[in-house]
Homo-oligomer: 334 residues x 3
């Protein structure tokens, strides 16, 4: 199914960047409508007898549960398939045949597939996602690949709006953190693209060596220009956190050492215990700042309990909003 720039219905949802901003705004608005509905029964049969196929190649807590609950609350059904349950693969069935056949049975396909970074090949998985979309006759939802996590990032915009009232020129720092393993860049990629798209003043903050892909940075700059916000990169937490209204913490792996864990580890190891979000650094931020993390999080390595369990943290509301945003998405895309 080809992405449409005009309407969300019938489109794929692979990266928000390929959808019109007004459609993204519509999704957020719809998500609030669903969250605040006085009579949820109004929506209880919207997807009656409809099926979402969820294809998971990795463990998942939030994504799987929120999608499956979303379908249930809309009266439909979500099929949970792990990659091992089906024939898909080089010596088995092609992406084309799999997508074509699923299109004959179900109403929407959602795919979660993120990289074994130790094997390199950044972007390979997004290509598989796009191959699915090429052959599928029903909409494809990206539940996180190696480039993007659009459901997470659009939900994050919703949560910021919910907490701060408006988005325009709100100051956000997207701050790298130490984690023992190199994690995908899909979340930072998507939150950088979305926050600049919605006109926030965006600071990307990481040690040297953890630069995101040039395409992402260039698009972010253009987004900022087009939408009245700003985009800058800083290399110290002190600078990044200063007066920010939103602290968004996330660890990711160094793209330059994709496929080379040994070198990557050398680069990240010195930041252990230093690039961690704690009460001390939070004092640099605005006194009413909110703390966000997409979860799962390694507590006291990425962020200290005192912060994630403290008054600034909105992480559970952020997780909850996945449900509402995805209900909006499913009801509009189906």
């Amino acid at each position: 199914m080809k992405p449409s720039k005009q309407v969300i219905s019938g489109s794929d949802f692979i990266t928000t960047q390929e959808l019109e901003k007004e459609n993204l705004e519509l999704l957020i608005e719809k998500a609030f409508e669903l969250k605040n509905a006085k009579d949820p029964s109004k929506y209880s049969e919207i997807l009656k007898n409809k099926t979402l196929i969820m294809l998971f190649f990795n463990p998942s807590t939030r994504t799987r549960t929120s999608f499956e609950v979303a379908m249930t609350q809309l009266g439909g059904h979500a099929i949970f398939m792990s990659g091992n349950d089906i024939w898909l693969g080089k010596n088995s069935e092609s992406v084309k045949d799999t997508a074509k056949v699923f299109s004959r049975y179900a109403n929407i396909i959602a795919i979660r597939m993120f990289p074994d970074i130790s094997k390199g090949n950044y972007g390979t998985i997004n290509k598989i996602m796009r191959e699915f979309a090429e052959w599928s006759e029903i909409p494809i939802i990206n539940m996180e690949d190696d480039l993007f996590h659009p459901c997470q990032a659009l939900t994050d915009i919703m949560t910021i709006k919910e907490k701060l009232g408006s988005l325009k020129n709100k100051k956000i720092v997207i701050s790298w953190a130490y984690h023992p393993k190199p994690l995908p860049v899909s979340v930072p990629n998507s939150i950088v693209l979305n926050s600049t798209r919605f006109g926030l003043d965006v600071t990307l903050c990481h040690p040297k060596g953890f630069e995101l892909q040039p395409y992402i940075l260039k698009t972010a700059e253009q987004n900022a220009k087009d939408n009245g916000g700003s985009f800058r990169i800083v290399n110290t937490m002190e600078e990044g956190y200063k007066d920010t209204e939103i602290v968004y913490v996330k660890s990711w792996g160094a793209l330059q050492y994709y496929g080379n864990n040994k070198e990557e580890k050398k680069l990240r190891q010195p930041y252990r215990g230093k690039w961690i979000c704690n009460e001390e650094i939070m004092k640099r931020a605005d006194k009413n700042s909110i703390f966000m993390h997409c979860l799962p999080v390694l507590r006291n390595v990425v962020v200290e309990d005192a912060v994630i369990d403290g008054p600034h943290s909105v992480v559970y509301d952020q997780a909850e909003n996945r449900l509402h945003l995805q209900k909006a998405l499913l009801s509009e895309i189906g």
Copy 2:
């Protein structure tokens, strides 16, 4: 549950051969009714609050999805259980206790279990299927064992009827193809039994050494006699494809070397690149012939892209019809 020759309701569905032909015709008719329904909501609560237990001991794309979607579209629920999820096994729980207990909870049980051919013992799994049926108090559906794949083969008859208008004396070739692994004979067994049962003129086409089980061949001959069709076996693709209206391609393993992969491989290896369905051989068939394959298929080994993606191919309609036929089956058997 014992198979009944009189009605489909309450019967098991282990092989179509054990059901009255008029009941099979009724299922196909019902499948068309469901496929062409102008108002599908008429069927949207037929199985409300009802449960199908699906027990899978192998990966599955079409079978699992089509059954789970079928239950959803009929308002019921399908439980997906992999063999690893339950206690069943020699040092754990008996088939008897498993079947008896499932009978107290669910409405229908469907089982997919096909052989590790390298271990031999052709027919062993069908015996397990029959043991389930012996103890179960609710209907058992065979989602493919080592002998039969009745849902596939009855769907195939439906698809032929849909494409060619009638079945009587339509010419079909069921043609072996090379595949690197020895695959089960359940599909050829079942399509041979079903196509002769419905009065087609059937040509089974394979290299010497890949003969199906004598019981299947004898039953096919009797079916042909009883239903006004014909049945013959040929050993060259040239002869098999000549003027045929239906090309049905499928690879399978040599029964004589069940449990002896090494010898089996010696027998099959010479046919690599030769017993493949390509545009050249398709010219031997009727110019309006349809190409069928049950999928998954190893592209460009079993069949060339030009054929499966070409004008004769009906493989995705064939896959889609699994959904409609199984909806008919579930609504009648439950």
Copy 3:
């Protein structure tokens, strides 16, 4: 969620011992109402659009199926998650975050997690269950941990009532049996607690060395005192089975050798073929006695076919009642 002594709604269901007896009686009553309902459609939408998250860390036949069917029959949906599907774990996500996030999506959480006895640490898993309950904002159902199996044991009381008419001073023997592996004590713990709670005359029967935890025995004695029944321990089957109206057979591992399979095996091995329930020993029981086992059972090791398939056996009704009791629980707790 903290357990409440007053009402079942909104409470956790970790062990029946922590709930008021009248609430347990209400659940059994409700279970009978559901089982005998003339018009089941009355209950067919009670949990419409509601979700139960079922978290399984072990295989399961009855528990998983009966809960999933229960949700289906009440119009809701059960998510089946194996432990491998989610992030939960020491180097991944905390129990707190998992429980908090699930609380934002679903309506009830049910957890099955029983011990690898070879690793010792009796009670560790119940602590994890309680940690879930501490953080969860929705009710937690214990689907069996290393201490308790409350759904099984309360169902057993229901089955006894169904078969014998009343509970007061009915004679039950809970008899150990030989099994090649050391099994959890959750079932004997829970049935001892429940049968004494409901005023039965309870005989716990096992070879020396297989004593249950002192807390369980003390609580059972107090239960008996409080509810007009009795509780004793005997060490021979001859004494245990004498004149009993209910024979409840179950194998379990020796707590003193938890984590020490080698010593445990030495203790259990002499009882192979001796501590087995057969027709001979059943003659010691009341002539109208019922035979119970929670299943799965190793036939002809724990109990002979002649008994489990014989006239005294109520094991399939016992299994079926899991469905009705859990429907009652889900509809009251949600």
